[in-house]
């Protein structure tokens, strides 16, 4: 493989990993801070992708808004959705055993899939990427790299930086970190944990929805698209360490690299390699690469 091809494969791995990080970060936050296993997280990703599909024409028709307007509206809607979901459903899961959480959120996946089928349809659909991002960058010879994929990577990096800033340099971030280590203590200090959890959950949902929305032009929307993402997210969270956003980033990049390398060198084993990676890391560190925080 010549140098340009190698460079492009690196970019592929990076973009894939970063997108996975965006989805997985929401999962690890909800996991780490609220202690809920949420199998429906993949469904949020799907909701995001379908929002991109459904909202784009509406936004365009009602006030001529484009891609960024759709993104903004979609993410705002998702924060609302997350808030309502937490209040109506997930808040009942905190005191429950993990098995019950697993099964209730599994039921939620089924409900989301059927709602999708009823509200939209069962077909696969494409979503157009915006004009100003549709170009390609030539990289010598026949190689080009789509600008839109660079955009995806950029968004993920910005969000990662934003999350870092919030955690390390704001009061909210401090409360979140404290809440993940010791919920009761935080409560007894007078901080409204219910409100905190609701915010964190809404943020987790928004992250997954954002990932789905920006990925939609690249992945297209189709039934069951949330399931494959969900399992990979679980692997990322297990490798990275529950509750650790830093770990999720590293793990997602590792998974992206392994997947890309696998596709090129060992196409048959590509699906399995990621799990082998997970098994090896668990042998070395059963609790994942990083602790929560």
């Amino acid at each position: 493989m010549d140098f340009t091809a190698f460079l492009v494969q690196c970019l592929n791995a990076l973009q894939y990993g970063l997108l996975l990080f965006l989805v997985a970060s929401g999962l690890t936050l909800i996991f780490g801070i609220m202690g809920i296993i949420n199998l429906a997280h993949g469904s949020f990703y799907m909701v995001g992708a379908y929002m991109a599909y459904v909202l784009a024409p509406i936004v365009g028709a009602s006030f001529g808004g484009g891609f960024l307007a759709t993104l903004l509206i979609g993410v705002s809607l998702s924060v609302l959705l997350g808030y309502v979901l937490e209040w109506a459903f997930f808040s009942f899961l905190y005191e429950r055993e993990h098995l019950q959480q697993v099964l209730m959120t599994y039921g939620l996946i089924l409900v989301f899939e059927e709602l999708r089928s009823l509200l939209v349809d069962d077909d696969a659909h494409g979503v157009a990427s915006p004009e100003w991002l549709s170009g390609t960058i030539p990289l010598g010879g026949l190689m080009t790299y789509p600008v839109y994929r660079l955009f995806i990577s950029a968004v993920c990096l910005i969000v990662a930086a934003g999350m870092y800033y919030v955690f390390k340099h704001t009061r909210l971030g401090m409360m979140i970190r404290a809440g993940s280590t010791n919920r009761e203590m935080v409560q007894s200090l007078g901080i409204d944990v219910t409100f905190l959890y609701r915010v964190v959950f809404a943020a987790g949902v928004a992250l997954a929805v954002l990932a789905g929305m920006i990925a939609a032009p690249v992945s297209s929307v189709y039934p069951g698209m949330g399931n494959s993402v969900l399992i990979l997210c679980f692997v990322v969270v297990v490798i990275g360490g529950i509750g650790s956003v830093r770990g999720a980033l590293l793990a997602a990049l590792l998974v992206g690299a392994v997947d890309t390398v696998g596709k090129v060198l060992l196409p048959q084993a590509a699906g399995v390699l990621v799990y082998v990676l997970m098994a090896l890391i668990l042998l070395w560190k059963p609790e994942g690469l990083f602790k929560a925080g």
């Binding site: 494969q9 069962d122 997947d259």
Partner: protein, 387 residues
């Protein structure tokens, strides 16, 4: 309390006994096992519509007997396939099995049909095994085999003078058969498949492989993808800038039912398939008009396949005057008849697969316009079928 539990158990067990006994012998029960949910739902609906259209055109009767239907949603899930077929056969007591879209599910149908000697017509699934290792005198196919459209494209690309080609598809039975058929025709004429790229089904992360293609610099690329994968691949291929530099060719389903989503990225693509838009024959026009009138949408290749499945059933039933126990005569009648299909007339091979013209089509706007015949009266070799 244990009495309540036991009563519940007994009641529930009683539910298991079939509620409906065998129908009176005047009606023929057709069992439709098609996807009603999931990505293939629209295809299942098209097949069913096509089938019912033909039956309605015959006045609701085939071979002098009225047709009634039993339906099961196979959900395109091979894990439930045997259960679903058994529902149709044992619970609903159907006389004929029709289905399905997904090859894995159809393979289970073919096996159960063969073991029970039930009449089975496959209106889509292109797996070679169905008219190959699982072939039976009572099993018929009204659609195509993966090998056929691929072989035809191999001949086309060889004729265009390409020497080095890269193939790319999913690593599963349908993909393997497609590439196999293509390779057979292409390499026979002196061309070479320099690389066979694949990724696990139904993965759609094509980027690393597109980079591989660009690095290999072949004369052209042959591909097979369907559904969501086809949409994404065509778009990714264009987005990677490859569309301008390395021409892309595909077997039919790359652009069937996906043009709306693919948009301008699919413009000008050449594919081979057993059906196309703009055939212009009287038969096709009549069919398209009737279908559009009845269902308010344009028909597609799946509707044609369903329509032809009903035609085949009618031919057989007419020959045996509605007596389905005469299986040998039933088969013989269909084997020697030329089926007047909207796609063009076709006959059946020894393994009951259509021997048909494969068209070369080009994407023009939202249509796959026929621009020529890629391969005339192409027959699937039916490897593995021992009569």
């Amino acid at each position: 309390m244990k009495k309540i539990q036991f009563a519940l158990l007994a009641w529930a067990l009683a539910l298991c006994t079939p509620l409906a006994f065998a129908q009176s012998t005047t009606k023929i029960k057709v069992g439709l096992m098609l996807p009603a949910s999931g990505t293939y739902a629209a295809l299942g609906t098209a097949i069913e519509n096509g089938f019912k259209l033909y039956v309605t055109e015959q006045g609701g009767k085939l071979g002098g007997r009225e047709i009634e239907y039993a339906r099961v949603d196979d959900e395109s899930d091979p894990a439930k396939a045997v259960d679903n077929v058994n529902k149709l056969l044992k619970r609903d007591n159907v006389d004929v099995l029709i289905g399905t879209v997904h090859s894995g599910v159809a393979m289970a149908m073919a096996k159960v049909a063969k073991e029970t000697g039930t009449l089975y017509i496959d209106p889509n699934a292109g797996a070679g095994a169905i008219t190959g290792s699982m072939c039976a005198p009572t099993t018929f196919r009204s659609s195509f085999s993966m090998w056929q459209s691929a072989y035809a494209m191999g001949e086309v690309m060889a004729a265009k003078g390409y020497k080095n080609v890269v193939t790319i598809t999913w690593k599963y039975a349908a993909g393997d058969e497609s590439v196999g058929g293509f390779k057979e025709a292409f390499e026979k004429s002196g061309g070479k498949v320099v690389k066979e790229l694949n990724l696990p089904f139904p993965n759609v992360e094509f980027q690393p492989l597109l980079t591989e293609i660009a690095a290999t610099k072949p004369d052209a690329v042959y591909t097979f993808f369907a559904g969501a994968g086809a949409i994404k691949f065509v778009k990714d291929y264009a987005a990677a800038g490859l569309k301008k530099s390395i021409p892309l060719y595909g077997a039919g389903f790359l652009t069937d039912g996906t043009l709306e989503a693919q948009g301008a990225d699919a413009e000008g693509l050449l594919t081979t398939s057993h059906y196309a838009d703009g055939l212009g024959t009287a038969r096709d026009n009549a069919f398209r008009q009737a279908y559009a009138k009845a269902y308010k949408v344009e028909p597609d290749v799946y509707a044609v396949q369903g329509y032809d499945a009903a035609q085949m059933l009618a031919i057989g039933l007419n020959a045996v005057k509605g007596d389905l126990t005469k299986k040998a005569e039933f088969a013989a009648a269909i084997e020697k008849t030329k089926i007047d299909s909207p796609r063009g007339p076709f006959t059946l091979s020894r393994s009951h697969n259509p021997v048909q013209d494969i068209y070369l089509r080009q994407v023009v706007g939202k249509e796959n316009k026929m621009i020529g015949i890629a391969s005339k009266a192409l027959a699937d070799p039916g490897r593995g079928c021992t009569p």
